[in-house]
Amino acid sequence: MDGKDAMTQSQQVGLTTESRPVAEEKWIDFRIWRQESADRPGGFEEFRIPYRKGANVISCLMEIQRNPVNSAGKPTTPVTWDAACLEEVCGSCAMNINGRVRMACSALVDKLEWPITLEPMRKFPMVRDLAVDRSRMFESLKRVKAWIELDGTYNIGPGPRQSQGEQAQRYVLSTCITCGSCLEACPQVTQDNDFMGAAPISQARLFNLHPTGAMHADDRLRGLMGPGGIQDCGKAQNCVQVCPKEIPLTTSIAAMNRDVTRLVLKDLFFKDKESAAVGGPA
């Protein structure tokens, strides 16, 4: 590649009022799900957006904000969708794009089939258009106690030493952005059941792998038991395939399954006092 070609990556520069390329009469067609609220009927609305090199689904939705007119030339409302960071780290903009759940910010139009179909995630309650309510995921984080039981925020020196290997193992788990893709892709998750899905199971593992977190590992494992817990996993393994952060979700589920089984057996054979004697929670 020569230098000129290299530069085509970067024709849109940051600190200029760039003249926008209008010469090419190229358009992208979009089919976008519109629904005012959960209790109103929804349907697709079509849009025709001027093509720009480097555009992603978000920049196209922004274009609709600036010119909210559909393909039939009829004025309409701007599309509602959730977004914040636009670099795949806030977890806001997960949606179904051409039938597959993914983050809209990293969905570059040049890499998608046209027309581009945008639909909300279907495993979460509808909010409006492409926005859904993912609060069940945050509730699950409470259920599995996805935190360290901190004594206080005082300056009492460093935490426990950890090896580089332990750090690497935990780091990848800690990059979960709570986007909901793993729940959306999971055949066991539905809007009217309670299955927590892969994300919180993997978060329980993240904290159980920490030397301090491990002191309360059984509390988290108990959070994984019961209705909607880890035993509802059907091992379809869709979660790991759609995770935008490539988190080893099925490995986490397997590890937590093993630990939960061990705890169930321990609970079965030992009374509380004895369980404390073999190193269980006091």
Partner: protein, 623 residues
């Protein structure tokens, strides 16, 4: 009677740390955030958090951190708060370590530290290149713990609209809107913390999240809070331009050995890796042999800008220089900066491990913000628990994080922002509590009518916006605002262009009154909220621009070629007495905090002297 509560606005690091401190003291907190707190913009910080832990045998010390920070900010920062922050930094890093942040480790299992800009020490603790994400999650988890225990009520997807003041002018609560149901509600509070981040979206495309409109700070300013040092806007040297935003390429890329260069021959079209070493111009290393690629951000940004715009030596003759890590083993890059490698790969399409990245500066951070005070203690740090810490000029209103003006002066050093956010919350929470304890009357004893009237005023305002049926599109106005701000009020500033920008802002405000609200829905009506935000964005745009226009000098990120001091005749400027005389004269005139007060005609700007009890100013020189 209702129970006394505190309000914290903003779910980033500063807000969450404030909440934790209040909860730890047994208080009840309402936490407002326009997005689920786990999606706040702190999540985007990449490189790390500074603290002079000195584990590398370099003799690092908090005093050196203080000096680097104050000098990096060209002596415009509030000195006691900087000292307090730098001394607290090692303890803050340890605290985060105890919270379970997966910081990178040394072979001995200790925290690892990397180099960052504006210092010669390994002082930056990091979790890959997604440190902000891990830090935000750690605090989010602790707040969730308090939420599960019933001490925190989260108002997510709620937007802070303005203050509620009692008859004496004290802030006794807020008015907020549920962005889902559009319900407007008054929330009484013993004190209110604005930890609402920066105003990146005033510049249209920036490295910021699209939620960073600065609307809350803008509104607080309109309602009487002082906005300080607004003109100091950091343009990050290394971002990748995109249609929807400018994506940050962390300073840690250079901290881990990344080199910035262009071909020595103008218009060289060869593939970058085929260009031999001798034909590459590592312009930062050449000009700054001590700091090399790790000069402070404003310096690196100006050099890149100069190479591209004035010398025309950008790649392919355009805006862009190489940021090269291809000499570093891919495994090392993946262990330390995988997060940013992936961003480049996903959004540009090239693998930066094997192909030099092309980057250009992008608007990144506001050093300025809401004016706050600190009460100096005997050790020249903010006195612990003083109600004056992080306090705005309005009693009962506090500010911290990027929303406050204090810690970074004229230029922020990389990896100091996560630190200032957490420290601001750490002293801000206790300050709110002390303030409440010293108040003669709790917000729960304020007559209900005060809150009802405030709510009514906002309901009427939104009813009015809902009726706006003109021809102007609010998002088009926002884009025009961003374009003019980016063009004229970022790296290079000229007075004629700044004046034109103020005229443009007047034009935009005029056109605002002819906006079409686009959506009359009764739930999740985003344009309705955005039209209101836009007005507040104009207010901040005006403060930033007028501050820049009136400050006839160059300092940190504020660069005016028309008022630039000449180059000193000696390599060390201290050896050139004539230059030192010019510098002192300039410094005496301009080493002052810009104080902006809102008036219906625009900002009224005055200057306030900066006490220097911690460190005497000296020329800021990195060559």
């Amino acid at each position: 009677m209702a129970e006394p509560r505190f309000t914290v606005v903003g779910g980033g690091l500063a807000g969450l740390m404030t909440v934790i401190k209040l909860c730890e003291a047994g208080q009840k907190v309402d936490l407002l955030s326009i997005v689920p707190v786990k999606r706040s913009h702190s999540v985007c910080a990449q490189g790390g958090i500074n603290g002079a832990v000195n584990t590398k045998g370099e003799g690092d010390h908090p005093d050196i951190h203080v000096k680097d920070t104050l000098k990096g900010g060209d002596f415009l920062a509030e000195q006691t708060s900087v000292r307090g922050m730098c001394y607290a930094a090692p303890g803050i890093i340890y605290l985060l370590d105890r919270m379970g942040v997966p910081f990178n480790r040394t072979p001995e299992g200790l925290l690892d530290f990397r180099r960052f800009g504006g210092t010669l020490h390994h002082r930056t603790a990091f979790a890959g290149a997604t440190t902000g994400q891990q830090l935000l999650y750690a605090l989010d988890e602790q707040v969730r713990r308090y939420e599960a225990a019933g001490q925190v009520d989260k108002y997510e997807y709620w937007e802070w609209l303005g203050m509620v003041k009692d008859e004496s002018g004290r802030v006794v609560g807020s008015v907020a809107m549920d962005l889902r149901t559009m319900e407007i509600r008054s929330l009484p509070a013993e004190a209110v913390m604005l930890a609402t981040g920066g105003p990146g979206i005033v510049f249209g495309r920036s490295t910021n999240s699209i939620i960073n409109t600065g609307t809350a700070a803008g509104r607080a300013y309109i309602e009487g809070a002082i906005y300080a040092n607004g003109e100091f806007i950091q343009v990050h040297p290394t971002s990748i331009p995109g249609e929807d935003k400018l994506r940050l390429m962390s300073e840690s890329v250079r901290g881990e050995g990344g080199r910035v260069w262009v071909p020595r021959k103008k218009g060289d079209t060869r593939e970058p890796l085929s260009i031999p070493e001798s034909e590459r111009w590592y312009f930062l290393e050449e000009k700054y042999p001590k700091y090399k690629n790790l000069v402070p951000r404003d310096v690196a940004t100006r050099e890149i800008f100069h190479v591209c715009r004035e010398l025309g030596m950008g790649i392919g003759g355009r805006d862009g220089v190489y940021l090269d890590v291809t000499h570093i083993p891919a495994a090392t890059l993946d262990a330390k900066i995988k997060g940013v490698m992936e961003i480049y790969e996903k959004f540009v399409g090239d693998d930066p491990r094997h192909h030099p990245m092309i980057i250009f500066p992008g608007m990144h951070y506001s050093m300025g913000g809401l004016y706050v005070t600190f009460e100096p203690g005997p050790n020249l740090e903010p006195l612990p628990g003083s109600p004056r810490n992080q306090a705005t000029n309005l009693p009962g209103l506090f500010a911290s994080g990027e929303a406050d003006y204090a810690y970074h002066g004229a230029n922020r050093l990389g990896a100091n922002s996560l630190l200032s956010c957490i420290y601001g919350g750490m002293i801000g929470g206790p300050a709110m509590l002390s303030y409440a304890r010293n108040s003669s009357r709790s917000s729960t004893a304020v007559p209900g009518k005060v809150f009802e009237d405030a709510k009514k005023q906002w309901s009427e305002r939104f009813a009015q916006i809902d009726r706006m049926n003109g021809a102007e599109n609010p998002y088009v106005l926002a884009r025009e605002l961003g374009e003019v701000m980016t063009e004229n009020v970022t790296v290079v500033r000229r007075n004629d262009r700044l004046r034109k920008t103020l005229e443009k802002l007047d034009e935009l405000k005029d056109r605002w009154s002819r906006i079409n609200v686009l959506d009359h829905g009764h739930s999740n009506n985003r344009p309705l909220s955005f039209v209101n935000q836009l007005w507040n964005m104009f207010a901040l745009g005006e403060v930033i621009t007028r501050g820049a226009l009136l400050r006839d000098e160059s300092r940190g990120a504020h660069y005016k070629p028309e008022f630039q001091l000449p180059e000193p005749k000696t390599k060390d400027p201290n050896q050139d007495p004539e230059w030192m005389r010019l510098w002192k004269e300039r410094h005496q005139k301009w080493a002052k905090t810009t104080i902006a007060r809102w008036t219906p005609r625009g900002s009224e700007i005055t200057y306030e002297d900066i006490p220097t009890p911690v460190l005497d100013p000296e020329p800021r020189w990195y060559a």
